[in-house]
């Protein structure tokens, strides 16, 4: 791992408060691996062996059942995933798949649990991280139950807006799954938001009138202040 990456990981909320020695141990017991795009890192229903930290690239959390599949979230540097399964020593509820060439730090579950026992500050950080992941999921569930497709898209755009534009970092079909709709319907949702003066140029979306978009999206900190 490059030193500046170790530094980045060190400053994550999950790791920033634990003792130097414990942090070093976690890194030493972990593996930093490269993966090609489209590779399935973990499968649903597998026992939880590793805490994963995305160092480079992007990972998609997916789940399938009875022939249907949906995306539950994306993880980008320097996000983590599968913490809950590691803690309860249970099976994964979601699969993880790389969307691009990625480098992932894999910390053995036992190392995480050992460090928690040894380092109260780390235990506290784990608890906070979990609470945050939990709240994010509650917000996602609220969004799913209380909004329609166009509203979910509008809020996603507002969250990712930067200088009046959004660069969609994944294929549109993947974004559609993330938002809980089909690719066809995502296209139509974009068309609907045309009334709010948005303009789609391939992966780039221009928000010419943020006010109009907000009027339709009705963003709320109780749904949209997700940490990821």
């Amino acid at each position: 791992m490059r030193p500046e990456e170790a530094d980045e990981i060190r400053t994550l909320p999950l790791f920033r408060d634990c003792a130097d020695a414990h942090f070093t141990t976690l890194l030493e017991r972990g593996f930093l691996q490269r993966f090609p795009p489209g590779l399935v890192l973990i499968h649903e229903d597998d026992p939880a062996d590793f805490l994963h930290v995305v160092v480079e690239g992007m990972v998609e959390m997916v789940t399938s059942h009875a022939g249907r599949e949906t995306t539950l979230g994306f993880v980008r540097p320097f996000g983590t995933f599968i913490l809950a399964a590691v803690l309860t020593d249970q099976v994964y509820l979601q699969a993880a798949r790389t969307l691009e060439k990625s480098r992932i730090l894999m910390v053995p579950a036992a190392a995480v649990r050992d460090t928690m026992r040894a380092d109260p500050a780390f235990m506290t950080a784990v608890t906070r991280e979990l609470a945050t992941a939990y709240r994010d999921t509650v917000m996602e569930l609220k969004s799913q139950k209380l909004r329609n497709g166009a509203e979910r898209l509008a809020n996603w755009l507002l969250r990712h807006e930067r200088d009046g534009a959004v660069l969609i970092p994944v294929e549109k079909r993947t974004l559609a799954a993330r938002l809980g709709m089909t690719p066809e319907n995502l296209s139509r949702a974009f068309a609907t938001l045309g009334a709010c003066n948005i303009e789609v140029q391939g992966p780039k979306v221009l928000l010419h009138d943020r006010g109009a978009l907000e009027k339709l999206a009705k963003p709320s900190p109780l749904i949209d202040d997700v940490s990821t």
Copy 2:
């Protein structure tokens, strides 16, 4: 509080491992209150002041946005709620409302945080409880995104089946909100499940053919093994 209720709380996963002295302190700093049915215990967007333990009765977790409202879950004795908001010292993402006459133990957030700091076993239990709540919510989200209404109802029935029958503990309209549909559509979902030989008698549902119901419901431990 009646002694046998204190005992029940003591045996909860959240409290069973903490030291006697700490448990006593938690109870002493807490308030046991009675509430009439239909009372709003906490509002969305309020700061998190108390961890709540339902000692008697039943509580509904609800959320509303832009004129719509939905139910995220029920809490029955001896379940807890609002742990995540207490830990991160943030506002509530959900409101809580009594469905019946209820008695609630309210433990000040500061007491919870103090005890966590003082008692590693309690901290571990909190972490485990949070991880479980998180996993339950992920399962709920999966159910919402991967199943239709009749399937969600079928699985709910299978989870609550007892001796070939289910006694619905709430008004049907409330169950409908819990399952993410309108009361009208819940009625129709029951009608649909008539093909699987279920029989509705007011709040009582008879499952004459569990096999047929399972064939439609396709229950999965990765969606339906919720702890609550």
